[in-house]
Symmetry: C3
Subunit: 364 residues, 3 copies
Amino acid sequence: MADHHCHGVLDRELDRAGFEALLTEAETGGPPGVSPFDSQIGFALRRWCPPVLDLDAHAAPDDYLARRAELGAAEVNRRFLAAAGLESLCVDTGYTPEAILDPPGLGRLAGAPAYEIVRLETVAERVAADGVDAARFADEVRSRLAARGPSVVGAKSIAAYRAGLEMAGERPSAARVAEAAGRLMRQDAPRVHDEVLHRFLVWCASDAGLPVQFHVGLGDVDADLRRGDPLLLLDLLRALADAGTPAMLLHNYPFHRRAGYLAQVLPNVYVDAGLATHNLGHRAPALLAELLELAPFGKVLYSSDAFGLAELYHLGAVLFRRGLAGIMEEGVRDGAWTAADADRVAALVASGNARRVYGLPAPG
Amino acid sequence: MADHHCHGVLDRELDRAGFEALLTEAETGGPPGVSPFDSQIGFALRRWCPPVLDLDAHAAPDDYLARRAELGAAEVNRRFLAAAGLESLCVDTGYTPEAILDPPGLGRLAGAPAYEIVRLETVAERVAADGVDAARFADEVRSRLAARGPSVVGAKSIAAYRAGLEMAGERPSAARVAEAAGRLMRQDAPRVHDEVLHRFLVWCASDAGLPVQFHVGLGDVDADLRRGDPLLLLDLLRALADAGTPAMLLHNYPFHRRAGYLAQVLPNVYVDAGLATHNLGHRAPALLAELLELAPFGKVLYSSDAFGLAELYHLGAVLFRRGLAGIMEEGVRDGAWTAADADRVAALVASGNARRVYGLPAPG
Amino acid sequence: MADHHCHGVLDRELDRAGFEALLTEAETGGPPGVSPFDSQIGFALRRWCPPVLDLDAHAAPDDYLARRAELGAAEVNRRFLAAAGLESLCVDTGYTPEAILDPPGLGRLAGAPAYEIVRLETVAERVAADGVDAARFADEVRSRLAARGPSVVGAKSIAAYRAGLEMAGERPSAARVAEAAGRLMRQDAPRVHDEVLHRFLVWCASDAGLPVQFHVGLGDVDADLRRGDPLLLLDLLRALADAGTPAMLLHNYPFHRRAGYLAQVLPNVYVDAGLATHNLGHRAPALLAELLELAPFGKVLYSSDAFGLAELYHLGAVLFRRGLAGIMEEGVRDGAWTAADADRVAALVASGNARRVYGLPAPG
């Protein structure tokens, strides 16, 4: 299976509070009496992860964390990345609140090639922090994208977290980009949150021939979910379709049916259910079934959106694989499609679509 | 079963590209490597349609299209319209990008009476193209609606595709209608996309005593789905309730639960799941189950929204019929309702509600 | 089970029209030919309620209503409140279009303690009707909240029905509150519908140490559902989180997945599916399953939102209890969680969470 969107894994020990903080999108472990372990993701973790650490399924949280500490982060990371059974990973390298493993390190753990997804806003913020002239900002961003290494296979926009997904379709003018760049560079810690710049960056990626991933739908509490509705992106998606640029809508929950609609009507739109898959745990099959309502099967991809916690690479993969298999098998039993078609389509979704869009080689 | 909203069928041969273009709401058949046959609607078509053409279920797309060509469009159309098993059809005659069968021709194929749904914007655009004085525009629209034939049983608004569903409740003033008509007539190819005109047209239909169908939710890529949310229509629906005019919310996906809510709280609101039913294929039962959560069973209708492709009249009917039967039977098994109530309610949804709202006679 | 949000029950006889008007959120019983009994709630009522009145399940509506009249309202109320099997009730006392039983009366019927939820807008409207000076309005509201009896355990905001849920986060200034109060008091029948006042009232409740319930999602036709989306409440929820005030999102359908997201990412957000549970009847398990996707199990509560009709206290309870049990048992069968965890979590949702948030004693 190809994981077309994930982040690096933390390479240090975690206490219970640290572990819980990485388990969900909440910033804290919950008020007294409310454990994040008592949730779909908590129960799914306790079902699927203890056996990887030689414990019985449904081990109690403290027992699990004790075993985790006993094995140490390096061994835990190695086990879960291997258990995920990935043929390749595309790693968003733009979010690093603390030191995490880089793509090559992650790939070594997974035993699979790790490609890189450039986070566009991070590129822009680094250019701004480096202090180029506002008039040269655009060229500098473009040249840094052009100078990317061969492992870079896509770009990512986090407009949803900042200005929101309601972006115009057309390329912004050089004058407006320079103005916005000027405002950006006057900040002490440059942080892109201007529709013009988000849009400019998307077009830079398009011009560089890169598929563009968009954060859509759920995320941490910083995300104003109202602004993360994929329907807001319609004008820009249409314009990217004309340019032949694949637009990869990530996560999407609870807007996944809307995303599936866009994947049907626009030739360049692809969807996944990363992050939501492991958050929904036992309900992941329901999510995948809804995502697969309108989205053509050639437009649906797998991603974990795992960040930090080694368990999430495995959990996303096992839940997605089982959920997809269950849907396909139920259809075969009911006569909705043949076993051969089910196998063919499951292979597309698991990895064929990712290989085609990002130009990844088949393994072996 | 009564199909209360469909279009005409194409009466010519189709190659694979032409067939694929009519299969989904996409404008094109997808990028290389992505076949619209690999989707819920594609799989549903391959399950239910080949046997009507004497092939085995799950025939390969090329084999299916070869057999289709061998039989010829006239025979294919005849078979699928007959297979649909309809007691009546209400045909939207306002969308004719190319020559399609008119309602009498469609009815002959189906062996059932075909009634007509007047598309309001088409009436207005013809009046404008005919070049009346702006001050006489309103009267001319009204008199054309008044002069409708006896086969006309309803009207349809496509405001969702143009100005969007957020329309005010009150009738627009004569002065504002004349102004808007003036702007319309100054266009080379008059195309209504002004909230005042859409609203005026709805009120013309209401005054003419016609139920008004509204396009809601999914459609082709021209539709900005944000503007197709049925909640936007609340003020106008309330005003139509006061006027005693039935408002028929078509399609609705992915807003079908919101539409069901409106059907519960407003006495004049009815809902269906046309277009979405065949697009969702094997998932149609899940859609119908959600639609039937809040909508009273006396407010839910069947439509195919089939356009062009003969298969869609059959596919909509078979998926709806089976989906509804499955829901009803499961409830009987679980003790949720009696078999007698299930049969009674299924008959309402399949045709009784349509007969009551449009004043259609029972067959035979 | 703790019912953390309900209203009083009507203590008089009801004819069929009166019964139907209380059964759903519609204002009328439907157009000719459309019975509210033919709906999910109607079928659920006919399944679960007749046995409580010594009839067979699925009794015809007229037979049911005849038996109801025969027993009389007092006996019917007693039976259904007892059948609900509640350990406590939190009663919103602010909506009394006609005489209904007060919390002590309701509690006697239920055989359980009945606590009180103060409706904030009602407090403000009474202060305004009493004619205090605009500059003293704020203090008067605060002192009435401070003078609440010991049975008051929470407050409720109906901003969703008036100004909508899009409220700012910060406390409004004294000057703006006085201005808005002045406008309120100049009305003949003061009715709060000003964002500043709704927000002021929420902060008064927060300052008084009360959890705040918010009407969210479906309600009667007065509610503009667009303004009842819980995502609109994000800024205020964040601010209440900083203040440590629990925010209880009520009903939520069809936005329950969005509400579940907020319950995951914000430490102070809790959710329920009151009103929707009995309206969805046989589909209630699907609703609960979706609500439990992202919401931590320690953040989900039970409420009926029953108003007026004794059946609704029972129907909400039986549907919720069965729906939750079904979800938990299915997970045990599938190996998703252990029976012990399922029991523990079900107890949290049924009553443990309500006890913790409102400080209610365990029974017995």
